[in-house]
Symmetry: C2
Subunit: 419 residues, 2 copies
């Protein structure tokens, strides 16, 4: 029998307890042993959670319990769980976590500490989709050329509604909040930070590259409007918030941003709250993994898969998937060196000579225009909707600054990268 | 260092040799050891394969070589490789195979023999997609409700061309043969047998159910015509050759057949030679796995993933994913008890009273019609294109026989199940 202790018994924790009971038949057949929850740590002991496990508000009751084999960390946060899981590992307990923020900051230190004991984290990326499993084990024969994914269900739900039903950003944000998909402060989801945490975890497995959220390009979907959606539809693109990791010679670029992507790509077909991650390996080609990226039961499904694996095999692989230096020459590409095609929406006062001035600024910044549309937004103003050929991020940022400084440009131009 | 011997050095075997060399850097970092091919067994020693490994035409040179840790079986067939891998396992060698036919017939005997030694087979289903990995490990917390997939790239390529470009069956079969996607005798692919082998493997992992190809419903795509494709498009369906495993109370239905499936389903969006498998778990919901189902390098990617896993961990789980009785009450549902909606194309001589007689036969067989279209095919004949409400397989077969017996029905009605 394997005994587990759960730190943080919220939605996911309760699902872990319930599934271990509901599905005990298949779980014990697959694990080869019975798995039981011995106790859980909560902040508020007075809240009724409807669970028949022992609860405590003292984390040491679990960390120092010799009977507990596996600690499941579901409390969230960064530094506090870091201290707790370190202590658990040092006390000889395997750890399973769903905490992407913890890993976005401390995955290499944890890999170091967990050299001889299992530390698993399938649920930290894309909820119920076994993407860690696929990338670390299933594709292990490959150099990974790229990872590109919809890693945040909230923003994908919002973008899907904007595209399919013409809803505007503020209305759909409110609806997402009403449905419980988005938090009262939605920044973490719509601003791209949640996706960035997940991207960093995947990039470590693929490339062994170390980076923190503050090192990489992170933008959200807050500035996307109906005009952008219409332009995208007209030119055969979907708009998605994508996390992208891409190898380019000895560099790896890591970035999260709203993206226009061809409707022919599988990833563009993933709608609503679902997640999907495409991985291109040098030998296998493209594979794609699709499923629910959040929700108590889906996340718990991944947590328990890790528990079953540990119950059966103990530590069967290094935490990040390698224990010799891997892809050692790869460096993080500076943001300004990233190349892309770009879409720009430039709102201008409708005066004579505006178009000539705008195109001149493109020329001066060495950025060549692929398509241009002009659409009136009122009697006095118009949107210039422009897509460019491939350009450097540094040049596009200079271009945007130059455009913004023009007196007839009404606000900072909105830019969406074309993937 | 881990040494492997390869039995059958054709396209996939050569890819295994080349990838182990090309990608030795990441492979050894992930495996924690170096992996080298010691020798390969081929039938014809005189053929130049451009590989610098030792070749032999005697399989015992590998089976009795004490230095070889892992035997990779890529020879194909059923009984001959079965004898060989049994011998390898008994000689203490781990086995990796891509051979779906071997597993379709002997997986339970192999699980028995390989109790203490690793036997892996990721490449046997859907080539480069790590679906065995996902189903056996990633979704292990779930009762599996259904598996539904495009498991044969050849037939999916043909159907895609028929639907998107209006090509007819015979022309696209010839093109598929010219491109090397289809064999001179294409029955194994277009007749559904290849997909059936893969389905049986997945069903064993999901349900622990034992069945042989001859126990289950297997139909192909040979009778699909442009009329069917047009009907499907008109009513919002794609046509796919699907392998389906579905739990229904204490029964599991297993079937491979051409299917009309709503264009809203992710699986309907998978086109060309690609494979894709949707798995619904009771807790995780739907997850889907997409990628190349064939090709030397993609298949070798899966073979090597297994080799890396074994090199690192030895035997880390039971071959089929469970070693206590699992889902023990589940039985294979008899084919005639399967329920579905159906599409029928009935070619009739265009005479008075035909429609009344046809509808009467539907009524007599207790099958209710959902939609009906009549389309002339010549001056004297017409197609009746009919979709039904849910009915039993046994009733639809009786209906088809009754219809075929009518003198004004010109040939056996074509039936496609609606999923």
């Amino acid at each position: 029998m394997v005994k587990i202790g759960i730190i943080g018994v919220g939605t996911v924790g309760a699902s872990v307890v319930n599934i271990l009971k509901d599905n005990a038949d298949v779980i014990s057949a697959r694990a080869g042993v019975d798995i039981v929850v011995k106790s859980g740590v909560v902040k508020n002991l007075n809240k009724d959670r409807g669970l028949d496990i022992k609860l405590t508000d003292n984390v040491d009751d679990i960390l120092n319990d010799d009977e507990i084999d596996i600690v499941v960390e579901l409390m969230g946060g960064v530094e506090e769980p870091f201290e707790i899981v370190k202590k658990a590992l040092r006390n000889g307990k395997a750890v399973v976590t769903a905490n992407k923020a913890l890993l976005a900051y401390h995955r290499y230190e944890l890999q170091e500490i967990a050299q001889d004991i299992a530390f698993e984290y399938e649920a930290s990326v894309a909820g119920g989709i076994p993407i860690i499993n696929a990338l670390r084990d299933g594709l292990s024969a490959n150099h990974i050329e790229s990872i590109m994914g919809i890693m945040n269900g909230t923003s994908n739900y919002m973008l899907t509604e904007m595209i399919q039903n013409g809803v505007n950003y503020d209305d759909i944000l409110k609806k997402a909040q009403d449905l419980g998909y988005a938090e009262a402060d939605p920044t973490f989801d719509v601003g791209g930070y949640d996706a960035a945490h997940k991207l960093l975890i995947l990039a470590s497995i693929a490339y062994g590259i170390d980076a923190k959220p503050e090192d990489i390009l992170i933008e959200g979907i807050e500035n996307i409007s109906k005009e952008d959606v219409d332009f995208a539809s007209e030119f055969g693109y979907a708009i998605k918030l994508l996390g992208i990791a891409k190898k380019d010679k000895n560099m790896v670029e890591l970035r999260v941003h709203a993206s226009m992507i061809s409707k022919n790509e599988m990833i563009s077909k993933i709608d609503g709250v679902m997640n999907g991650i495409s991985v291109v390996g040098d030998k296998v080609g493209e594979t794609l993994y699709y499923g629910p990226g959040a929700g108590g039961d889906a996340t718990a499904s991944a947590v328990i898969a890790n528990i079953i694996d540990i119950a059966r095999s103990g530590k069967s692989r290094p935490m990040l998937g390698f224990d010799r230096p891997m892809e050692a020459g790869l460096k993080l590409k500076p943001i300004e060196d990233i190349k892309s095609k770009y879409y720009l929406r430039i709102n201008v006062s409708d005066k004579k000579g505006v178009l000539a001035k705008v195109t001149k600024i493109f020329e001066e910044n060495d950025i060549s225009v692929e398509t241009m549309l002009q659409r009136p937004t009122s009697k006095e103003s118009a949107n210039l909707l422009i897509s460019t050929h491939t350009a450097y991020e540094r040049d596009i940022q200079k271009l945007i600054n130059s455009l913004e400084a023009l007196e007839f440009v009404n606000f900072k131009p909105v830019m969406i990268r074309i993937v």
